[in-house]
Symmetry: C2
Subunit: 354 residues, 2 copies
Amino acid sequence: MRVAIVGGGQLGRMLVQAGERLGVACVTLDPAADSPAAQVGPAIVAAYDDAAALAQLVDGADVVTYEFENVPVGAVGALDVPVLPPPAALEAVLLTDVGLPVPTFAAVEDVATLAAGVEAVGLPAVLKTRRFGYDGKGQAVLRSAELLEDAWRAVGEVPSILEAFVPFDRELSIVGVRAADGELRCYPLVENHHREGILRVSYAPAPDLTDELQAAAEGHARAVAERLGYVGVFAIELFQFGGTLLGNEMAPRVHNSGHWTIEGAETSQFENHIRAVCGLPLGDVGVRGHVAMVNVIGQEPDAAEILAIPGAHLHSYGKRARPGRKLGHVTLVADDPDSLRQRVVQVARHLTDA
Amino acid sequence: MRVAIVGGGQLGRMLVQAGERLGVACVTLDPAADSPAAQVGPAIVAAYDDAAALAQLVDGADVVTYEFENVPVGAVGALDVPVLPPPAALEAVLLTDVGLPVPTFAAVEDVATLAAGVEAVGLPAVLKTRRFGYDGKGQAVLRSAELLEDAWRAVGEVPSILEAFVPFDRELSIVGVRAADGELRCYPLVENHHREGILRVSYAPAPDLTDELQAAAEGHARAVAERLGYVGVFAIELFQFGGTLLGNEMAPRVHNSGHWTIEGAETSQFENHIRAVCGLPLGDVGVRGHVAMVNVIGQEPDAAEILAIPGAHLHSYGKRARPGRKLGHVTLVADDPDSLRQRVVQVARHLTDA
């Protein structure tokens, strides 16, 4: 099997590595010659919408997949090779369509509709672009009606949604994988901690996770995946508010809050994505103990200090350091929640930008 | 850190993959352009004793290591970069020197000394070359004194050892890793099953493993490693005979009977080797449940059939199929020994040459 991957960041890199092990040859397309994926496998260096490069990418490939949402849907959808997940999943999904409650929101087209939205939704509120954002980009928190124009400029003056700022208890996410035959498997809900819009730490399973909450999240995941005829790995970010889950957003790809699965689950999200898009049987999504994932942001830590922490697994993406940039992650596996939290603190102590 | 690896087979490939994850850049040297390691990372294609290629290999490297024993010791030892494990470990180790009992043996230089050896050792016996062999190569079982010349030709007419054929209960191996500061960590003893001189299945931990047996094996591993000033991963193959361990041979490298550690241990033998030769702290060698490794020999199985087996992890080395050739392996992880054995049987059913 040969898989063409649009995008060569760390997600592409980890997909390539998962494919390699299975004997599935992957090739990536990315504009950067030294992309994380290009360092670990064959890569084509070109713009995502370069027709000749796309043709070269899919030459001999059995399937095309992607590692990020801002794929040129037209160019990729026109290729003569199956694209999985289906390109329809690249259009922003309105989670309400599948019965998943979301915070109150209003559509925003310009400053006037933004003002009307503030009337309807109240403040504080979050202004988000309708196309997928990431790492806090394409989002602006609006706290005062006097700053409408600033917020509008901050999201790039594109069609957006103004969403009520929910006083949630915590942020969760569920990562699922759906096979072509419709089989769905979900990893346990994960608790996520963000700062400056960037994921910092995930705990898996989410502390105090109940069967009811997991079942509710899986029900939403199933509804979204079936509506889209989805094949591959996806993530849904959620807010928990008491016993209620509200949808935040859906990512039609492997997700940062699923990186813990490399060491923490029987089968990683990357291997399961490759399995799904190649039509291979899905792998076991069971968890091994108590797991945390800590992102390495902005600056690489001293590897020796991290690796001296029991149960610590360091992943480096081969990226140049830059403030706010995800350079790697550390997975921690422990037998009990207390040891896990202690180890997370130990790791965090060695991360200067976390 | 940069690591130069002499040899680009599957062991080199898995070392490269372990290095990648840690952000340790590895480059391999192998005469084959499509070596398993060349498919997953930078590689130099040249003979192992090509001085210019060796110079290129170590250019910018912090350390040189190797994935097999038949390294040109002179050429590698003369390099201006530290070599770990120390080249002395490449000379065959006489396990008796460190107090590990071995089967009765006699040195063989020619047919005449072979005949004398048969008198001393008895029959059946095993004739083994003194330099490291692998996968049954460099070995001949001698059952009749009439076949001395055949056996001598079979091992290539090189200095050898004639060893008594021990009626052992089972074959075991212990994989250990030693850091530059002398810290030693050993994985649990593994039970190995060979056929036609090729490892077929390993069980980890070895069934019915006792603390006493593990302690005895670790004592031998420590003695060998300390005698050699060893740094890195090594394996010692052992025969168990009642409560007694007899030494078979030592491999100064990552070992096939340690492949199960990728999914079955907290830290794989490959990552621990990279950590050790780079001077990084050693990783946890704890086991996750009951683990088996089944080699894929001669012909690749249908990936979908293997991956449909619960707990099965498929590893493909990117090698062309050939009878008797190791093409990959399958790791199985289970919660109990019975499920594990059932799964091994399921895997074996899909392997035509196993």
